[in-house]
Symmetry: C2
Subunit: 301 residues, 2 copies
């Protein structure tokens, strides 16, 4: 456990302070590492640089997939898990939406979060050792799965968790097939190259609402329309067992899901150990440990 | 204006009466007409028979599209239209969701609803003259557009409007591009061949709720899952100016829309003049005239 440093760090990505949306260029490299380091090849690194994400067709074996899915179902039906603070429940349907901190609370997911297949890619992308900033299971149940509006994760992590720079990557490991119709991840490819400084402040304990439905840190409709016209929208379909790794500043969203096919994934955020969190840049206090970890111990070690 | 006949018509498609979902085979032909009659060719008719729908790449000219879109925007911003009973407003956002009866209230849409390009196809599919059972503009605004759960239109029209048999076809004319990501029409292809008899009754004035969010007449999740596994889900993408015609008993739905791209269409229901409505089969009284017309005058005449 590392103590949070006082926030003397310069705020390179101001947000939630002004009355007008501002668009800043993103600084520094996106993919830090080179193809020689492996395992990601040059074309994949270039795609990540240009589009802000990469896809992996089969990250885990069919046996692992079966184990993970069984664990997913077990957790969703465990009443002590449902009552835990780190579990987020849908406002209307009372169904489990997310279970946070699974890389610390669950042995099966601790292992995959520290697995060399994942860590090597994250280290190559971020150009350093990495630690886990946040982890969760996301459930998008069939029929009632809710949407998530457009946002940059980095904007929230910067404002509310004190992450200095967008030198972090998210892994979304699919435990169900992603079809165009069951509310898959949508990314505006290229949007990670610009940072949208949002208006307004951050209400106290904003995370209690924002993990269910965003408010603060959501860009205005006109800016989002301009971004969509400029960058387009990629719909990330793909089979269970595959994964997406995407830059922390990608503008992304997902629609709701009225189909019978649930959409569930394991979501793990790796941050560079050279980019550890300080005091929040635009919130009265940091979010709880399950949303933004202060344990900066390198993963996989 | 024709007086509704007393309901001595045999109920071939009972629904909302039992305590258990039942699945009945659909009776009679699906595409009634032959390719010789035109304008639909043999392959298109076969597709309609098998899948329950057909698509038209370009039903209207670019000039017409422009005119229709301008009229759409004008109506959405007319306060007298918003206050009208035939206008359905989103519960949460207070945005206009649908404007009904546009084939009677609006000259531009009266014309297209009676246009030979449409009527000839509807007559060929239904094997008789046709009349307009219902018409509406559907708006699915960007960012806040809401989903529509799985349902068969015929189940509602039978239960609440007294339509004897599924000898009706819906035209959905796209006024905006349909992408996989902005909440397009989804159809379970082949599902029109079986009728799901739903449980429960119909609350009085059910239409006031059901036009915003269905309750009565919605199949149970297990039946929908079985149907999806058996038939699959077709996502109907396509450019503005194109159209879909689909059988009244197709199981269909659409997801919400968090993208900036609105999705709007003109929706017109043609019923065979040999299948005119009688008393409702499973509701205390018929829906208002704007939802189920009692003017059985042949369209296009």
């Amino acid at each position: 456990m590392t103590v949070i440093s006082p926030s003397t760090t310069k705020d390179l990505y101001p947000t939630r302070s002004g009355e007008k949306t501002e668009i800043l260029d993103r600084r520094g490299p996106i993919a830090f590492g080179s193809a020689e380091q492996g395992p990601l090849d040059a074309a994949t690194l270039q795609h990540y640089d240009d589009k802000g994400y990469l896809t992996i067709d089969e990250l885990i074996t069919p046996n692992e997939l079966e184990t993970f899915r069984a664990e997913l179902h077990r957790l969703a039906n465990d009443p002590t898990i449902k009552d835990d603070d780190a579990t987020i429940v849908e406002a209307k349907s009372n169904e489990v939406r997310s279970i946070f901190d699974i890389h610390r609370s669950n042995e099966i997911f601790r292992k995959i979060a520290n697995d060399p297949r994942v860590i090597a890619r994250a280290e190559q992308l971020l150009g350093s050792e990495v630690y886990i900033h946040q982890s969760r299971i996301n459930y998008k149940p069939g029929f009632v799965g809710k949407e998530f509006s457009w946002h940059s994760d980095f904007e929230t992590w910067h404002a509310e968790d004190g992450m200095p720079e967008p030198r972090a990557v998210s892994l979304s490991l699919s435990l169900t097939d992603n079809y165009s119709f069951n509310g898959p991840l949508m990314i505006m490819p290229g949007s990670h190259q610009r940072y949208i400084s949002c208006v307004g402040g951050t209400p106290e304990d904003n995370y209690k609402k924002s993990l269910v439905m965003q408010g603060a840190g959501t860009p205005d409709p006109q800016t989002l329309s301009d971004f969509a016209d400029e960058y387009g929208i990629d719909v990330l379909e793909g089979p269970a067992g595959g994964a997406v790794m995407f830059d922390s500043n990608c503008m992304h969203a997902s629609n709701g899901n009225v189909t019978p096919y649930s959409r569930s994934n394991i979501f793990i955020v790796y941050n560079s150990v050279e980019n550890t969190c300080v005091e929040p840049f635009a919130a009265p206090k940091p979010r709880p440990e399950f949303a933004g970890s202060t344990d900066f111990t390198p993963a996989g070690s």
